[in-house]
Amino acid sequence: MALWLYVARRLAVLVPTLFFVSVLIFSLQQLLPGDAAVALAGEENDPAAVAAIRARYHLDRPIPVQYGLWLGRVLQGDFGESLRSRIPVRELLASKLPVTIELALCSMAIALLIGIPAGIVSAVRKGTVVDAAANLLALSGLSVPHFWLGIMLILLFAVRLGWLPASGYVTPWEDLGRNLTTILLPSFVLGTGVAGVMMRHTRSAMLQTLGADYVRTARSKSVPERLVVLKHALRNALIPIITLGAIEFGRLLSGAVLTEQVFAIPGFGKLLVDGVFNRDYAVVQAVVLVSAGLYVLLNLGADILYFLANPRLRGST
């Protein structure tokens, strides 16, 4: 009951937030240099064609009217059509979002596979060389510019060694094997940053639980150390790790922008960057709005997880 109230309240806040997001995007794009209609008209720049484009996309109407028209359609689930390809933006979103989600999921998997064990080890061996090395690695993962790491890995694995393709993404249902080989490098690149974050979260959560009463009790009962760490300490440390993981997942979706650019993965981020460069207003608006919505929902999901996992919080609401 309390949970539903909480979720409902959070969802209610989502509406004005997204409304402000839409107003922000709409007013900002008016600053975009270069006339979208002229850009679309191509090299001959025929005035009649430019006027027709303006009329078709209501670019000749006052901005508040444009906004009203757009909002009215969006509320009916219609994001309009791409100015450039005339493909409905909804279809573009539907075909791009799964790609980025796949990339984000794979990155998350890699991040967890590296981050959690490293965090556990460094917490258990606090203060040793292993701890220091794990910390250094985590910091490196956080500090390395992803797109550069991507370029370097392409240089090594694709150009020099020729083991993995530099790009050429295909969907899993077209060719699963090739899909996995093309997604491996970008997932690793994107996963390194999150791995660093996850390692640090795991470490501090583990340090807390390792010092907790029930762990001490378990130890005093001479439960094997391995079991103490994995069963008692880790299980309890997992709650904050999962919560933070959900938030990090939201960030991965945006972190994908440059990685998709470097590896030419036709995902959400690439859609955004191409949209920006082609002055494809409808696409940019939709991508930003949807990613904002997703981000907020993921954060909400994280909060709900936290709420559910934390009995004390549940009692107080």
Partner: protein, 292 residues
Amino acid sequence: MSATPVVFAAPAVAVGRRYKAARQLARRPAAMIALAVVLGFVLVALAAPQLAPFDPTAIDYRAIRKAPSAAHPLGTDEVGRDVLSRLLWGARASLLAGVIPVTIAVALSVPLGLLSGYLGGWVDGLIMRINDAMLSIPFLIVAIALAAFLGPGLGNAMIAIGIAALPTFVRLVRGTVLAIKTEEYVEAAQALGCSRRRVALRHILPNTLPALFIQVSITVAAAIIAEASLSFLGLGQQPPAPSWGSMLNAAQRYLSQAPWMALYPGLMIFGIVMALNVLGDGLRDALDPRYQ
């Protein structure tokens, strides 16, 4: 900037804590090394004209994409410019891109956060709604959108990054204000009839500083990466002036023919960002009571 006199007007408690913090920081070798590295980068940026063997924009169309040699220790780029010289001068763009957006963000967020947290009511509501809206769009996406809207250029990229970083700072300042507002000395000052403005500036602001410092060091690092990202996409530094991000943009085209063009700018970004993050960790450990 304008915060400097305020620091000296801060209550004795805060000053004492700061000295302690400085000593705390000095005791951490990693943080000290990082500080030295950051200062090294600053020195390189300042002394770029003296250190650079060549003019970073001097084109030599007879020596394009030459591999590292005695004359050009790090090779030459696609139009025959010396990569080392561009790297050294590029430090300026990157450091500026780290500092200026953060300055923008701090300069705008401190008054906004103070207003929002201290006044409450509809002012708070409005500021926080807009802030939430901006926070709900991922940082880099805001920066890309803004940079595209403002037009390509280093200045515009820095403004875009500054605005994109703004909401985190506003939320931070407001949160600290809300936490301190109810503390005894603030209530005492209010009871003594101090003006709201005076209370905000003399008592509340200094206490937001530690958290602000930590956020600043993290954000400078994030801003440097953001500038590199924007320049990589062609939305930042415009030619012929060098920046590490735009050097990487150019390098991507010649990855197999001239890999040295891609290697060094990335290493530089990595180095400075890593140093700033280590420093940020050290600062947090030293300043944040929860970590002591």
